[in-house]
Symmetry: C2
């Protein structure tokens, strides 16, 4: 079972393949780079021998000379948060299909991201970086990226000056939340809800702030007054406590719009198991995200949905476009939201 070159441990190298195929080392390199010119039969031969020897080009070496690591850094505060884990999953699959690998970096859950982590990350030379964190300014991030251009998932505010800034360069996925929120409020209104409470997410989060502002505007447009804001941080436990407080200490509400699905679960459990209220008869509940659990019978949650697959496609497209045109000005993609109606409003 031993072969010339002995690839038992320590991988086969291009040189070994070249030797066995009676070609030059360069030919082997070319065989693995589709756009180069090489006689088809020769390429075929080389690829066959390579397979025999279990040879794959070393990406570290390739990265060194080509300046492409084929690594995409993903910075997350929490891998196991439901929405993010679904997004990482889909993103990894999509990137894999394009020949990239996902490199995971974890920040602290409080959204802080120190320069040490950034410097550490840069050492791996990612071709691109997707930041799920929101507290780090592009200006800071860019310093640590070498040639990579960061991608931000952006939740545009109402009335915000949105002209792209030239410096520093970063690409954006703009997620417009208006449609879904408007549909949700219309549904609530149609079922007679008057007093709507908004269970906030982390106050630092742009996604949260944007949701709250949009909700405010939509309700105003529909002549429904102001939503009552109750404190939250995207977690189940806080949502649970806040809901109990809203009804035990505060004035209660006809409907609760939660900043995310997991928070909505906490709301539901508090309403049903602690406050003995019926959903949707006594209180209606709407979430945000449409994570996989939302269709579970315990929750059966009406929620504002992102299209995950479309979202991932946008991100991958941004990466590829940027790699094809490293000097292009700021790139953008756009995504919308829509309402998924289940059992918690009615």
């Amino acid at each position: 079972m031993s072969i010339a070159g002995e690839p038992g441990r320590g991988r086969a190298t291009a040189e070994m393949v070249a030797a066995k195929a009676n070609v030059s080392r360069v030919a082997v390199s070319r065989a693995f780079n589709p756009h180069t010119s090489l006689k088809p039969e020769k390429r075929e031969l080389i690829l066959r021998i390579a397979k025999e020897l279990d040879y794959t080009p070393d990406r570290a070496a390739r990265a060194l000379v080509s300046g492409r690591s084929h690594l995409v850094g993903v910075i997350v505060p929490d891998v196991c948060s439901h929405w993010e884990s679904q997004e990482i999953d889909a993103l990894t699959t999509a990137l894999q299909n394009e020949g990239f690998a996902t490199l995971l970096f974890k920040t602290r859950t409080d959204y802080s991201m120190d320069e040490q982590l950034l410097a550490y990350m840069r050492g791996f030379n990612p071709d691109s970086v997707i930041a799920f964190v929101e507290n780090v300014k592009p200006k800071t991030l860019v310093r640590f990226l070498g040639r990579a251009v960061p991608i931000y998932v952006n939740y545009p505010f109402e009335n915000e000056d949105d002209t792209p800034v030239a410096e520093p360069l970063y690409d954006r996925l703009n997620v417009f939340q208006h449609n879904g929120i408007d549909q949700a409020v219309a549904l609530l209104q149609g079922f007679g809800a008057k007093r709507i409470a908004y269970l906030s997410g982390l106050s630092k989060s742009r996604a949260n702030v944007s949701r709250e502002r949009t909700l405010r505007r939509v309700m105003r447009e529909r002549g429904m007054g102001e939503p009552q804001i109750i404190p939250g941080d995207f977690t189940y436990d806080t949502a649970y406590r806040s809901t109990v407080d809203l009804f035990r200490i505060g004035q209660g509400a006809d409907a609760i719009f939660a900043a995310n699905d997991v928070g909505a679960f906490g709301v539901l459990d508090a309403l049903r198991h602690e406050l003995n209220l019926r959903v949707p008869e006594d209180v209606k509940v709407v979430g945000f995200d449409d994570i996989a659990q939302s269709h579970w019978k315990s929750f059966n949650l009406t929620t504002v949905k992102f299209d995950l697959d479309e979202r991932v496609r946008c991100l991958v497209r941004l990466i590829l476009r940027r790699l094809n045109a490293p000097d292009a000005p700021s790139l953008e993609e756009t995504l919308n939201t829509r309402l998924v109606v289940r059992g918690t409003v009615g």
Copy 2:
């Protein structure tokens, strides 16, 4: 467009730092490798200049010559499956602290893993690989790993010949499930359960087979006869359907032991919302994993727990031990389970 030597785009190199600090390029390299000998003041100076220039050693170049990529490959079928996402999260944090980055690879959910993915992964030259998949034999995996030694999470069977095999070399984390299962069955027995059903996980899964066998043995030892096996695949939906079938078509049960927590959630929802049975009065339920959701009020699940932190520590220890002794024989670590008692048994 941009000026070379300027750290704006295109990172600073060791040479630039050397020039600015008036030292040799080699000194810069040494400054970043703690165990090398360098006059402390000199090291300090270099590190300061490096910080000024935002310099970090390029890991691709370093990997090329040192043979260490500081990349740990993690192969998962499903990032968003609850237990795995928690494990990936903890693992990434732990690895990051040791200077490694997590490289994510996704297999198909059906546990298949083709050689194309393996070859692809190997190109990145991971220092170590942790396989959460169970259908790939070490013998196959090793072919694609170069110098890395794979780590398997192993669920030893009862009465299994467990002498480590010399060839191929791989390291193992042995998870003994007996303690937790025994405690769970004792609790069920203490509360008078006689007919226990086991909601199976994927039948191909070693973890599942081991759980089932251990449950069988524990029940036999306690004079409780055989468990009834109902089909499952670790998902909520299948668990839900199987539970309904068990009571509508089959004979029902006093208690259901689910192969994982998510399955147990499906069981709970089916019992309460579809079959109008009370838990734990009519039917008792036990899960496996103790994921974060299990303490949620909707579920409040009694479950067999792995200690996640301990598990991650074991994995990291295996990686470090192996890197320190690449030629050592098969390494092992051991982990136990225990019962977490909540509200679904009583």
